[in-house]
């Protein structure tokens, strides 16, 4: 089974003139599963926003605590207030749960537009069954994700786009699905490319003044890009060999950030690091080469610079400078990866404590902490091990 990465992008626009969005989306990733919830509060504005927020929060929390999906839905429907006059619940929702073990998924829709499922770029009519929970109809669809599959959850604000402005009945489910198929023709690298496109179209159909909150979640199952970064010499010299072995056997791309670390690995392989001095710039030390390692850079200066680059370009690889120094290459590698494992050696070079020197560099641990925070925000799965 190919290792997949579930790439999620969620976007929303609020009703014109409102200060809060009545659609709320929340996603969570645990060790075993990925959970996505989209909730649409009745009406718009503050009240709708609060109801939708409550709904997403309750669902996410219960699912994270491993309560079964059916029980969660039952609890939420039992708790949701119902509009007396219109006899409808104050918020609707769609939930998708994906198990990492085998990528099987389950989608539950409660009064929300049915999810769209695309395989090899084409809309697949989903088999839905309807169950009744607390006298309400719930639609459920299940399946197993394959590489390239795309799933779309949306609120009715997207389907109604253009209503009374450019179209009599609004954009509509079928037309939206067709539009997504069109987006998928270009084989998007990330889910955002599709969600961004659909929401831009939604906005345009509303002539820039959405008559309802509109939101979308795109889920793209793509090949997992793994990366392992070894940085800093381990505290325990005796354990070095095992760490180096593990690093060299890790799946996916391998990067070493640190000259001394590079030397340790080279020594274990009976090789020598080759330095390409032409790649050196006044700010960034040069790139080194070692077999079995995809990128070898100096440690602290290069990583600090890379963090700065990520912050400057807002984690958009297309906005990185076009030059190819070690920090820029490192930034590209990190942005391409979905799952990143850091092996951080904690041995400290005494000289770095020297006051004339320490003002130039930050401590490796702090740097990693800051970096992990940023990458987590980007939806990357990051793990750190200290040695």
């Amino acid at each position: 089974m190919t290792e997949l990465f579930v790439d999620i992008s969620d976007l929303a626009v609020k009703k014109y003139g409102e200060s809060l969005c009545g659609d709320q989306i929340k996603t969570a990733r645990t060790e075993d599963k990925t959970i996505i919830v989209l909730s649409d509060g009745l009406g718009s504005g503050v009240k709708a926003s609060i109801l939708a927020t409550l709904t997403t929060e309750i669902i996410i929390r219960m699912l994270k605590a491993d309560v079964g999906l059916a029980d969660v839905v039952e609890t939420v429907i039992g708790t949701l207030p119902v509009c007396k006059r219109r006899k409808i619940a104050y918020s609707t929702f769609a939930v998708m749960e994906i198990l990492h073990r085998d990528y099987t998924y389950k989608i539950v829709n409660f009064d929300s537009p049915p999810a769209m499922f695309f395989r090899q770029g084409r809309l697949i009519p989903a088999e839905r069954r309807t169950t009744r929970i607390r006298e309400r109809d719930i639609s459920v669809s299940e399946g197993q994700l394959e590489q390239g599959d795309f799933v779309c959850l949306l609120s009715d604000g997207v389907l109604h786009a253009g209503l009374g402005v450019k179209m009599n009945f609004g954009w509509g489910w079928d037309n939206v699905a067709e539009h997504v198929e069109l987006c998928l023709k270009d084989e998007p690298k990330c889910a955002w490319e599709v969600t961004h496109n659909v929401l831009a179209e939604t906005h345009a159909l509303y002539a820039g003044r959405p008559g309802d909150d509109a939101s979308i979640v795109g889920v793209l199952a793509r090949k997992q890009n793994r990366l392992t970064i070894l940085t800093g010499p381990p505290l325990d010299r005796a354990g070095e060999g095992a760490i180096v072995e593990r690093f060299l056997e890790s799946k996916g791309r391998r990067i070493i950030c640190g000259g001394t670390t590079g030397n340790i690995v080279a020594e274990h392989m009976g090789e020598e690091v080759q330095v390409d001095i032409r790649s050196m710039t006044p700010d960034v030390p040069p790139i080194g080469q070692l077999s079995g390692v995809d990128l070898l850079t100096e440690g602290i200066i290069t990583m600090s610079k890379m963090l700065e680059l990520l912050q400057e370009c807002d984690c958009d690889a297309a906005a990185l400078p076009s030059e190819r120094d070690a920090a820029i290459l490192l930034a590209h590698e990190i942005l391409t990866a979905d799952t990143i494992h850091f092996i951080v050696g904690q041995s400290i070079n005494e000289y770095y404590q020297n006051p004339e020197f320490s003002k130039h560099i930050s401590i490796r641990k702090n740097l990693i902490r800051e970096l992990v925070f940023l990458l987590n925000q980007q939806g990357k799965h990051v793990t750190v091990e200290y040695c």
Partner: protein, 90 residues
């Protein structure tokens, strides 16, 4: 036998911050006849920065001899010396 003067410039963290980036430009500063007789290489941290006994970074190794607190001027002079010595030996 290698007929070129071997110059290894450390480009590790400590040496880089203390000026190794400048030292790399040495190749451009060497006069034409000299340039062909020198081989310049970058090396990762050679460990000299780890305690103070060797002096301060940046470190350059020229024909096996260590130069601490290396500057373009110092490196240039040492290279010239070595080139002369190499010529005498032949």
């Amino acid at each position: 036998m290698n007929t070129k003067v071997q110059v290894q410039i450390c480009v590790g963290t400590a040496c880089h911050i203390m000026g190794a980036a400048d030292l790399i430009t040495i190749e451009d500063l060497l006069a034409e006849p000299l340039r062909e007789r020198v081989e310049i290489k970058g090396v990762t941290c050679i460990g000299l920065c780890k305690d103070e006994v060797h002096g301060k970074p940046p470190f350059v190794i020229i024909e096996g001899q260590m130069l601490a607190e290396a500057t373009l001027d110092k490196v240039l002079r040492r290279i010239e010396m070595c080139v002369e010595r190499l010529a005498d030996r032949r």
